[in-house]
Every structure is written in structure tokens, then in C-alpha cells.
Point group: C2
Amino acid sequence: MEKITVTLGKRSYQITIASGLFEDPLSFLPLKAGNTAMLVTNKTLARLYLNKVRHTLERVDIHVDQVILPDGEQYKNLSVLEQIFTALLENSHGRDTTLIALGGGVIGDLTGFAAASYQRGVRFIQLPTTLLAQVDSSVGGKTAVNHQLGKNMIGAFYQPLSVVVDLTCLQTLPIRELSSGLAEVIKYGIILDAEFFVWLETHINELIDINPVAMAYCIRRCCELKAGVVAADETEQGVRSLLNLGHTYGHAIEAEMGYGNWLHGEAIAAGMMMAAHTALRLNQLSKLDVSRIRTLLIRAGLPVTGPKIMTPDSYLPHIMRDKKVLAGELRLVLPTAIGHAEIYTGLTKETIMSAVLDCQD
Amino acid sequence: MEKITVTLGKRSYQITIASGLFEDPLSFLPLKAGNTAMLVTNKTLARLYLNKVRHTLERVDIHVDQVILPDGEQYKNLSVLEQIFTALLENSHGRDTTLIALGGGVIGDLTGFAAASYQRGVRFIQLPTTLLAQVDSSVGGKTAVNHQLGKNMIGAFYQPLSVVVDLTCLQTLPIRELSSGLAEVIKYGIILDAEFFVWLETHINELIDINPVAMAYCIRRCCELKAGVVAADETEQGVRSLLNLGHTYGHAIEAEMGYGNWLHGEAIAAGMMMAAHTALRLNQLSKLDVSRIRTLLIRAGLPVTGPKIMTPDSYLPHIMRDKKVLAGELRLVLPTAIGHAEIYTGLTKETIMSAVLDCQD
Ligand SMILES: NC(=O)c1ccc[n+]([C@@H]2O[C@H](COP(=O)([O-])OP(=O)(O)OC[C@H]3O[C@@H](n4cnc5c(N)ncnc54)[C@H](O)[C@@H]3O)[C@@H](O)[C@H]2O)c1
Ligand SMILES: NC(=O)c1ccc[n+]([C@@H]2O[C@H](COP(=O)([O-])OP(=O)(O)OC[C@H]3O[C@@H](n4cnc5c(N)ncnc54)[C@H](O)[C@@H]3O)[C@@H](O)[C@H]2O)c1
Ligand SMILES: [Zn+2]
Ligand SMILES: [Zn+2]
């Protein structure tokens, strides 16, 4: 079992990683007999894991209600959020309730924002079931729903009570979703930890095979890296924004292609290649590093070029609308070496578009 | 000009009270030339004050967009909240925008929650235009919207950048709304400040006449009292809950009568009388104090009895569902003398119902 503490003063919490945790009542501490909880999940996960989790909670006399949402990014919106509130109120849940998110990033983001807002804040436990949620979205306290006019535009910074990663979940995860999670894993190596990047170059095949020892180490290291960044900069005033490597380009791909056609990690993989090429053009990154990034992404089953039907200028309107654009100035996180990244401001539209061209087949 | 500081560490802010502040660009500091803001108001206030505020901001080159909502408590919900987000996104407002709430508690609560949630938090200025908003809802950082199944069930604790009280607003406020605000004013006297209660006994007629000197002092004192409580207990773990005097009974009246038929302050006035009678029955409050409370409420134009059509047992289901009920135990804030109140737990349903009967015509 691996344990990491996310250090945030009074709101510090633990991430626990092991196989079989959903069957262990200790995973749900500090919940205790007599407590009330609301399990939030989607139809897919409900079929696979809901009864297992319910059973574990009921064994220790925790009263569990449940709300089962439809599956998909398109349901991460205010009206589905309202369904969670309705379930809570219909079942008379008070301020002392605990929301439990069983699912990937969509369920985690929705449930986290519901927990932040219900009666102005109730307790909240994350049971992330996708690799992406385990290494990224469940750590750091960002919660959100989408608006028709923009992704993650409505939300809160809100920390869970704990994060419980049961590795056995990953066995049922579609392979494309696994690769998508690996994009964020590789991202940590690129921006923060050259040694971890080397470890990934050595162990990428074991991760694809979901070898439990390799996977546990990989998730722990990613959580440690993210936890460190979040502890230093909870509300993204500084270093936390490095985590957005590849996301400015990637969000343009997701938005333009329609959410769900390109998975988040797939878009981010192509976006990281574009960021790498931007850095290469500015003489901030070596050709060798660009090629190591490219090779590792390919081995992880990820795309390294953008969608064929997207022209370089089709990225621009999305990039201009990005939350990271302050006062109209183009800002981008760029890798400067394996293990290092920096924020660059004042980039020209031409540079941004040329890097897209560099990443076309 | 009266100024009070609400002390909350890095999130401290000032409340400024004077006549004519909406016409003074200094009221909107730290906003400065080139900044962007979104004015949120309703149809009634837009007709009265929107141009005045817009003009003041535009004079110092602040770019102002606006969203004008329908007027009424029934619009304090998630779908109207979404209209604010839509306006922000359609006008490309970024994280550096500032929301400005121009209106009573409804606009303040909606706008505050929008500011807390838009891109996970943007700046926010309160321009409260009802007495209730000036002495109560604009101070303390509680924001919320209603759910069909409960009032203020969805929200956040979120502090404004500043609160600007322009006393001239009150001239256009309907007299019933003015009285409703006085209910919260009187509440502060009862729970926290015997001297202020005496001051109110002396000056209540001047307040009804909106004498600017008396009103400025009254609002300042209320804000000071609330600010003190909020600074000591921002998230209502302890002393802040005293501010709920009369609200448990009052919410039952509002819910049962349909929101809007009884104004909030009217319901709270009757609720405070019920709380006073509960305390009297438990020998915690003197007859004299009960009668002083009653007289002052009547002089402020407020009801001191519940709605005739509500039977004592019709209060119970609402009281049981109250946020203040923890683990099914009945808790109530009760006055123990003019200037003092305490939380009582373990009350019986019988006591609660008898006090309702004591307050029937
Ligand atoms: N809060 C943050 O900091 C943060 C960070 C990154 C991403 N996100 C958000 O996360 C979301 C993406 O998360 P995701 O990639 O986990 O997508 P997801 O939650 O949609 O899950 C992907 C798919 O896999 C299914 N699934 C999940 N776990 C499974 C399992 N164990 N077995 C079988 N199927 C399973 C889901 O039902 C879904 O169909 C996006 O909305 C993104 O904005 C948030
Ligand atoms: N956040 C808090 O801490 C807190 C505390 C108390 C109450 N509240 C909330 O506040 C709301 C009640 O606020 P309210 O009593 O201000 O009601 P309100 O905002 O509905 O205003 C009352 C009426 O007066 C009108 N009005 C406002 N200012 C006016 C003016 N200067 N001239 C003419 N008309 C004017 C409004 O358009 C409305 O019709 C409730 O939703 C309640 O839940 C919040
Ligand atoms: Zn991501
Ligand atoms: Zn009130």
C-alpha cells in the first residue's frame, strides 16, 4: 500500500493506493457507524463497482444513498449537478453528510463541486476509477462543471477528505482511456522529474499491461509530484500552471473536434508535442528531447500529431479564449528540457501556428 | 462617511456607508482604468440606479457589461445563475473580471455565488440597495441559490472585495421592505448589544423616516456587530449561529406561506417572538424583555404573531429539515436577555409548538 499526504494545513488529506481498497472499510475512515453518505457514480461504474462499495460501507453501518448519472463529458453540467442536489434533499441529507465520488474525472469534478456547494460545503471522498482521475483530477481540489460556452468554467477549489485508489479498477478500463491517463503521467515527467521520465521509458510496457507494482509506483509518484505543486500553489497563481503543459493546444483540439471524439489525454499528447515544437522553434528545447517525448507518447499508445482536419489557424480562437490568456496576452507552458518547464508570455500567433504545422502528418 | 473593516486575514475588506457613493468613482477602488466588470442587477433596480452606476464606472474607463435579471426570490436559482455565466462568457470575461451586485439580498446572493464559481472565483463588489442587504446579507460572505426543495441549499462562503452602501437608495425602497430590514436590525440588538437595543427604542421613528444620520449609524453598528461575529467564526461553527435567532421558526413561515407572501424580515420578526416565548417558557428570559422586544417590533411595522392559517404542528416538518438540526436533535437560538442569546439543544416538539401558540392572536 502506498500513501501520500497532500499538505494543505487544516485541509490536508491522504491518498491511498493499493489493490482491493474498495472492499476495505478502513478506506472510508473517518466515516463511522451511523454516518450518512451519498454515492455519486454513473451507469457504467454502477454496473461494475457500486454494489462492492455499498456493501463495504453497509458492513460498518454507514447509511448509503446513491445517485446514478448518465455517462459522459456532456453530462458534466449545471443541470446534472442539480440532480445531485435533488437526491441529497429528497433523502434529507444534512450538513453532516459525505459525498463519495465513484468514477473518472467527470464524476469526480461533478461530485466535488456538488460537495463544495451543497449547504455551502460538505465532506467528500474520491474513489477515482480511471488512470487520469487517479494521477490527476482527484488530486488538487479543482472541481468544475462545463458551460455550453466553455469547459470547466464553473467550479470551486475544494479539497476532499481523502482519495482512495483501488488499482483493480483499472482492469476494466478501456485501453484508450488507459493511454489517455498515461498522457498526464508522461506530462509530470516532462515538466517536473527527469528521473521519473527515464523510469517511464523503462517501464511503459508494464504500465500498459497494468502490472500492479509498476502501476502503484507510477500513480504514487504522479500524486506526489502533483501534491507538491498543489501544496505550493493551491489556487494556481504560479507554479501550478506548469501542469497545463499541452493543455492550451489540447483544449483547442477537444473543443474543435467535439468533446469525446478525442479523449482528453489524446488531445493533451498532441498538445504536448505542439508545445515541444514551439519550444524547439524558440531554441529552448533540444531536438533530442523532442524526440524522446515523441517516442514515449507513441509507446503509450498516444497520438503525436493533431487531427488532420484542423488547420493551424483553427486553433487560434480557442487559444485566445483560454483561461490562461491574461489581458489578451498569449501565454504558454513550454518544456525547456526533460524535467523542466516554464511559462512563456508574449508569443506570436505565427509561432503558435507554426508549431501546429510541425506536428502534422 | 462611515467605514468598517471586516477582518478576515488576506480576505479582509471594507464596508463604506454614505449618501451618494454610487456617484463616486472612489467607491469602486481597487478597480481601475482598463478593468472589466459585469454589473448584475434586476429589472426594478436597473430602472432606478443602473445608469448612475454605469456612468460612474465609465467615467474612470472601466469597461462595464451588464446582465439584468427578473425581480424576485423565485429567480434565485441555478438556471438564473447560469444566465450570469452565459453573459460573462458571451462577453469574454476572464479571471480578471469583477462582478458587481446592484440590488437586495437576492441579487447579492446570486452574484456572490456566481463570483465564487465563475472560473473557480473572480472578484466581487456588493452594492446593497435594501436595508436587509445593507445590514445583513452583504456582510459575511454567505452566498447561495435556492433549490425547489429548500432555500439557500446551494452556495459558497465567498467574501467580496468591498461593500458600498449608498444611503440614498433607501428613499425608493417600499416601506414593507424597510420594516423587513429593521427586523434584522432589531435582531442584532437582542442577541448582541443591549445598548444598541436601547438606542433603537429611542430612534426607531427616525429610522422609519430614513433620517440619514440615524440610518448611517444604525447600519454601521449592525455591520460592526455582524463583522465581529463573522471574523470570529466565518463558517458558522459556533457564535455565528446566534445570528439565526428567529430564523428557524421564520423559515417555516416563509416556506409554508410561499416565499414572497411573507417577507423574510416579517417572518423573522414573528419567529423572534416565538423564540422569545420559548425562552420565557424555559424560564430563560424575563416577561419584561419579551414585552420590550414585542413593542419594538410593532413600532418597526413588523408582525409579532405567526400567520393565522398556520397550526403549531405545521411548523415541525420545516423545523426538522432545518440546516441547524444536527443528527435529528432540535436546536434553537434563544434570547436569554436583551443583548444575549444562546444555543439550546434537546428541545422537545411540545415546547416548540407551545411557543407558536403563545404567539397567536
Ligand atoms: N479536476 C481536475 O483537476 C481535472 C484534471 C484533469 C481532468 N479533469 C476532468 O476529468 C474529466 C476526464 O476524466 P476521465 O478521463 O477520467 O473521463 P471519464 O470520467 O469520462 O471516464 C472515462 C470513461 O471511462 C469509464 N470508466 C471510468 N472508470 C472505469 C473503469 N474502472 N472501468 C471501466 N470504465 C470506466 C467512464 O464511465 C467513462 O465512460 C474531464 O471532464 C476533465 O475536465 C479534471
Ligand atoms: N447572504 C446572507 O447572509 C443573507 C442574509 C439574509 C438574507 N439573505 C437573502 O436575501 C434575500 C432577501 O433580500 P432582500 O430582502 O434584500 O430582498 P430582495 O433582494 O428581493 O429585494 C426586495 C425587493 O425590493 C426591491 N428593491 C431593492 N432595492 C430597492 C431600492 N433601493 N428601491 C426600490 N426597490 C428596491 C427589489 O427589486 C425586490 O423587489 C433572500 O434571498 C435571503 O435568503 C441572505
Ligand atoms: Zn489534463
Ligand atoms: Zn435573516
